[in-house]
Amino acid sequence: MWYRIARKLSETYSRRFARAVRESYAEDEAYAPTPLGRCALALFLGLLFLLPLILGPYPMYVLSLTAIAALGALGLHLLVGGAGLISLGQAAFLGIGAYTASHLSGPLAPLGVLAGGLLAALVGLVLGLPSLRIKGVYLAIATLAFQFLAILVFNNWESFTGGIRGRNLAPAEILGHPLDSPGALWYLILAFTVPLFFYGKRLLSTRAGRAWLALRDNELSAQVAGVELVPTKLSAFLLSAFYAGVAGGLLANLYRTVTPEHFLFGVSVQYLAMVIVGGAGTVLGAVLGAAFVVLVPELLNTLVGALGPAYAGALAALRNVVFGTLILAFLILEPRGLVGLWSRVRDYLRTWPLPY
């Protein structure tokens, strides 16, 4: 996920020097339009690979959580920020992915994660059907109903989900190497997140992205401009669920246990918060939003821990208040989210010595 940030950084600088180039041809659809940008991107991907050598297990664990959350958020972002369809059921898709992966663990882990994504995508397609008829709040309520239905199934379908006790997983294994630490599992996570991020970014800037955005902005005129309603909406649901399913599968391998409380309604809300805080409209938004939602509570936890156990109870409650307030503050102060904040900083930097 950090490579997004790096890419944005490199883009800023390449654009600062080569703005005119981007104005002519299809180059601006490339991931990194300039040689400088390509270098930075390659460097960054390299750095991602080396991270486990530099960082200890706990930071790697938090980073893994962030990367997985970013993947789920990107999926939701395609649906909400892209097609403008609200979903309150993202956690349910994570759950479908996680439970599926729990049946194909150990040496089969990569297959399990993929299968989780595919099964979630299938269910997502079905959940997408009502979106062809209903909109806005009503659609949100339909996805909410789906979320609660999913929890009911997770709790009661003992043979598949292990009920309330859930299921435990053996460590993922690649060619006989057990990935039993967050640092080792990181490579499995990268193997899924990096390609899916590239793919998502590509989709948003090509035909699918245009069709989704057009539906979000103006359904009537999108149809008149030639956008087919049914495949466009369903593909957004399908893809969003696929991303969540893969994220869920990875999460199962990270936690090594899957229980229903990982996929409660509150988690769906958290994912929506990531998209909103990050700022709907770009891939970077999903990453920044995920980082915010995962890291801020983590930081607040550390802070609470540092103050000593005596205050822990009171401060834990306060933690939620602070977190909620921060999200509200974002919605009010910067409706474009972290991406908006970022682009302001960027514009400031670009014109830094001479503000005009």
Binding site: R202, S221, V224, E228
Partner: protein
């Protein structure tokens, strides 16, 4: 005029509860012509375009475009056949850039699977979009979100989006309304050029009678959902019923 008409409308009836928006409207449009529809407020002009582009379903009547029956087809299919459209009240994708708006229009001719991005198709769409942007002098605004442009430019972007799909027939709903005199002249020139160079047939709804008389070759006058007149612009000016409708309508 030996050519087969590009659009044939026969005996259209469209009712909303009590209101008869169209009653027995029929006319034909020759390929390559500049066809105007005029009429007082509420005459049913927009309703007629909505029937043509598939947003309203008429109770009865027939619409043939390039010899094909249009009425059973949903709007995107009609667009793919070569029917372009702009709206009376702007219906742009406001959050998308001008370029993205026009690219979406340009895609009409060669869509490919949604979830399988193809570089060659994207390059083609981009090239077409650039061509149209250049043509309508919109190139400097390509990366601006469409919703942020001034009204006149937004209208032009709508025309660009429709033209990018290389339509055979372009329906324009009051493209001149709300524009300054200069902008009107520019738009008229763009439309004339598009007609000459790309062979687009133009069907436009307009309130500005002067512009209609100057530019159009054929005129259809609607009033209360009925055809008052169908013929050349000179005849419309002299027709007593048309004069009545306009004086009565206060225009």
């Amino acid at each position: 005029m030996g050519l087969a008409p590009i659009l044939e409308v026969r005996d259209l009836h469209l009712r909303f509860k009590g209101v008869a928006a169209l009653s027995g409207v029929g006319f034909t449009v020759e390929p390559g012509s500049f066809f105007a529809i005029i009429g007082p407020n509420g005459a049913g002009k927009t309703s007629l375009l909505n029937v043509l582009s598939g947003l309203y379903r008429p109770q009865s009547g027939e619409v043939r475009f390039l010899g094909r029956d249009l009425l059973p087809l949903p709007p995107p299919r009609r667009t793919r056949l070569g029917l372009g459209r702009t709206f009376q009240n702007l219906e742009l994708f406001r959050g998308m850039t001008v370029l993205e708006n026009v690219k979406l229009g340009a895609e009409r001719a060669g869509p490919y699977p949604l979830l399988w991005p193809r570089a060659d198709q994207e390059a083609r769409v981009r090239a077409r979009a650039e061509e149209v942007l250049e043509y309508l002098d919109l190139a400097p605004y390509r990366h601006v979100p469409a919703g942020l442009l001034p009204y006149g430019l937004q209208k032009r972007v709508e025309v660009a989006r429709a033209l990018a799909g290389s339509p055979r027939l372009l329906l324009l709903d009051e493209p001149m309304a709300g524009l300054a005199v200069e902008e009107r002249q520019d738009l008229a020139r763009y439309l004339q050029d598009a007609r000459r160079e790309w062979g687009v047939t133009l069907l436009w709804v307009e309130h500005d009678l002067r512009a209609v008389m100057e530019l159009s070759e054929r005129v259809l006058v609607l009033s209360y959902g009925q055809v008052l007149y169908h013929g050349d612009p000179e005849g419309a000016r002299r027709d007593p019923r048309v004069q009545d409708a306009y004086l009565g309508g206060g225009a």
